[in-house]
Amino acid sequence: MSSLKMGIRNTLSNWRHSLGSILSVAIGFSALTLFNGYISVVQDMYEDNYRQRSMFGDVMIEKSENGKEIDFEESRINPAEQNFIANFLDENKDLLDEYVRFLIISGLANNGKTSSIFWGFGYDFEKGRKLREPTWVWNSKAGKPLDQQTSDSVMLGQDIGDTFGCVIEKKERLLTKVGGYEPLDRPFKCERDKLQLSVTTESGQINAMNVKVGALGGVGLRGIDSWYLMMSLDRAQQLFDTQDISHMRVRLKDAKMFDTFVKRFNKEAREKNIELRAFDWRDHVIARVYKRTMGLFLMFRNLVTAVILTISGMSVLNAMVKSINERRREIGTLRSLGFKQTRITRIFSTEGVVIGVIGSILGSIFCIISSIILNKLEFIYFAGFLSDPVPFVIGLVPNLYLLSLVILCGIAATTAFFASFRAVKSSIPALLTSV
């Protein structure tokens, strides 16, 4: 405790010596927090796009073979297996928020003049809405969300909508700052309102169905929106002449219950010899773009953090060495008063921590102000695979600030320790006579 008091007192009384170190910490803190704040916002956008907008929830349940993953397009959960899942979910209501059945659909869509491949899902409209809460309940760029329409309506991705000549009447930037669209029924017009969907059923028969273009939206991922089509599960099953579904997506009451849920489900499925498995949607092949993008961010984040921390560390070390060299006589006095070497290095390390804290506080103030200014500027750009332009936003993430504080205090304390370690080893007369 007395080391802490001395550390604080020394930092304040030698503020001119400590200023360099404090500035170095503040600079490092700012750089680290601003960059990671930006990355965390982009990560959140992607997470939000998958978890809520694309209705992935927390857990996926899919068909398996000997407990192993199979080709996701081959996954067919029959009515008996669906019953097993429904019973399990019913028994585990305490963990569950909502679950939705999905059937993967693909085929050729035609409006009488133009054809296009489509790929997408049939799903339970009402339950799907719950999975999109709170940000993406309104997931249509134009028209109403499907849960507010009749079951013969489909939602087209923006790009496949373009292929069929669907135009949103008023062009505007729709994405709000917190994600999601304003809940407004924006009018749109298609060359022809009706589409004919042609598919091959499992038995190899060609089947067709007429549907109405009810909304434009998609999942907000470039490329996918070029084919994306969503329709009601009932109609999709009718079109493919099946009662099966491809997979089920579950949203838990608390994402922390993931392990409990997955273990419980997989155990019960194994015991009843049912070839189903529950797993994290992030491990699904559909989410590969998400996973790879996160991998890229992680790589960038690590590289940037390493470079910034090294530069800041060197800078703090530099300032610390200078500060300690200038206080050699003080060290000599302490030694002559009977202070042990370890005690003195502890005092300097504590001083390092105090410098780290002060520097981080200054850095935080700078970060908050600059983040607010930059966020107000609303610089718009395209973030990789997201199809909507997004604003350049730097996140104010308290955990990130705390982590940066801990890391930088650690660096400051370590550098102070090493800088003082050599000084305290000198003889007392040498220390007392140093200029």
Binding site: L23, S30, T200, G204, S312, M314, E326
Partner: protein
């Protein structure tokens, strides 16, 4: 000049330990920035080679006005007529004699079937000879070699008597096709009429799997139904994960036959690798306008024709620029910090120089040169560390998963000379500026104060 430099060099040596610490910050900052730029360069080259050559985007492409957005909606209206094709080719040839290729292509949707099952594909028709040149382009093997490695079978240019088709591995799998027709097979092995066409029979599926024949069916430009037979001659990768489920490539004449048209979606121009696309697009637009051709020119960096390249590189550039700004700020402040300490410590020296008749500008220049020298001395070390790291990383053959790309690519850190020079100049500029700023204030102090100042 040489005296001042010698003086600056000597002064740096006087505070060697502190300057070493500052230098190490500059060295590491420079090395980090070089490595990051090396990574970005590698990714950009991969995307560029893949999109321009393997996905037929071309350096420049000419469409009908609004054709990029609407050619699938109204293919007849937004197709280039034969006359426009001939004229555009002629203009391209005359305007860019250095071109590496000019090619017409047609794009659309089609159903591909095996007799039992059909699968929708996005199909591209391209000129056989051009395709051969594009696949064998040096940049493809150098920067997108991973995608060439994923190819199986032959190229469409190797067949004259049949309609060859390349499909992605996933399309082949969805159709249950494993057979690739080779160049040495003379006759087309057809299912005999006596065979039982029973799609529910597994043995029949095995028989189909061993047959390279497929049927393509689509609506023509006149909205009639049309079909042609084709032979799978190879599996390929479009490079883009989202296209892997549904991409196919056939010769242009075959697709024109399927759609019953002599039109084309676009004409692509392939210019030498380092040709800046924007001015070239400008020149071509002018030339087309002068020839009274109402056509639109796009270049490969445009979002509309190459969304993957534009979107992904945009994100990478935003992140890199942000990092560059932060790194430069950190280095600037670190150097300024050191310089401030150095200037404060040497207040008496500054006073003495002033007393000896040195002008303020001379002293400021001396400190600026000290900063410049410090920066310049750091660059070779930074370059060496970056080079060494890139050597280690490149030889480790680490595979990296790029979002949206169907295959893993090798991490290759390419130290870009231009980036190296620009970043080096930027860092040296920063160190020079730091020396200048910190010394300006000190030299403005009265002479007596400077001479009386203490070290601490």
């Amino acid at each position: 000049m040489s005296t001042r430099l010698a003086l600056a060099f000597k002064n740096l040596g006087r505070n060697s330990r502190r300057n070493m610490a500052t230098a190490s910050a500059i060295v590491l900052g420079y090395a980090g920035l070089l490595l990051l730029s090396g990574f970005v360069t590698r990714i950009e080259k991969f995307f560029r080679a893949t999109s321009i050559y393997l996905n037929h985007v071309g350096t420049l492409s000419v469409f009908k006005p609004d054709g990029v957005e609407k050619h699938l909606l109204k293919p007849k209206k937004y197709s280039l007529t034969p006359e426009e094709q001939v004229k555009t080719r002629e203009i391209m040839k005359n305007l860019f004699p250095e071109n590496e290729g000019i090619g017409t292509s047609l794009q659309g949707f089609s159903l591909i079937g095996n007799g039992c099952k059909t699968w929708p594909v996005r199909i591209t028709g391209t000129e056989k000879e051009l395709e051969k040149r594009l696949v064998n382009h040096w940049s493809v093997s150098q920067f997108s070699g991973e995608l060439l490695g994923a190819r199986r079978g032959s190229g469409i240019w190797e067949f004259k008597t049949i309609t060859p088709i390349l499909v992605t591995h996933k399309v082949a799998r969805n159709l249950g096709k494993s057979k690739i027709r080779s160049t040495t097979e003379d006759s087309i092995p057809q299912l005999s009429s006596s065979e039982n066409y029973d799609c529910s029979d597994q043995r029949f599926h095995l028989r189909l799997s061993d047959d390279s024949n497929v049927q393509l069916a689509a609506r023509t430009f006149q909205n009639d139904f049309s079909a042609v037979d084709a032979e799978i001659v190879g599996f390929y990768s479009s490079g883009l994960e989202l296209l892997e489920e549904s991409a196919a490539l056939v010769p242009l004449d075959a697709l024109q036959k399927l759609y019953e048209t002599d039109g084309a979606t676009k004409i692509s121009l392939f210019l030498p690798w380092n040709t800046p696309p924007e001015p070239a697009a400008q020149r071509l637009t002018e030339a087309l306008k002068n020839a009274n051709l109402d056509l639109q020119v796009h270049h490969f960096k445009e979002f509309s024709v190459n969304p993957f390249y534009a979107g992904f590189m945009n994100l990478i550039y935003v992140m890199s620029s942000f990092f560059l700004t932060l790194a430069i700020c950190v280095v600037t402040l670190t150097v300024s910090d050191t310089m401030t300490m150095s200037v404060l410590e040497r207040s008496r020296e500054i006073g003495t120089l002033r007393a000896l008749g040195f002008r303020q500008t001379q002293i400021i220049r001396m400190f600026s040169e000290e900063g410049t020298l410090l920066g310049l001395l750091c660059l070779p070390f930074g370059l060496f560390i970056a080079w060494l790291t890139s050597l280690i990383v490149n030889s480790a053959e680490i595979l990296f998963e790029v979002p949206g790309i169907s295959t893993q690519i090798k991490v290759v850190l390419e130290i870009n000379v231009i980036h190296g020079v620009v970043l080096g100049a930027l860092l040296v500029g920063v160190t020079m500026l730091s020396g200048w700023i910190t010394s300006v204030r000190a030299t403005k102090k009265p002479l007596v104060k400077l001479l009386q100042s203490h070290v601490s």
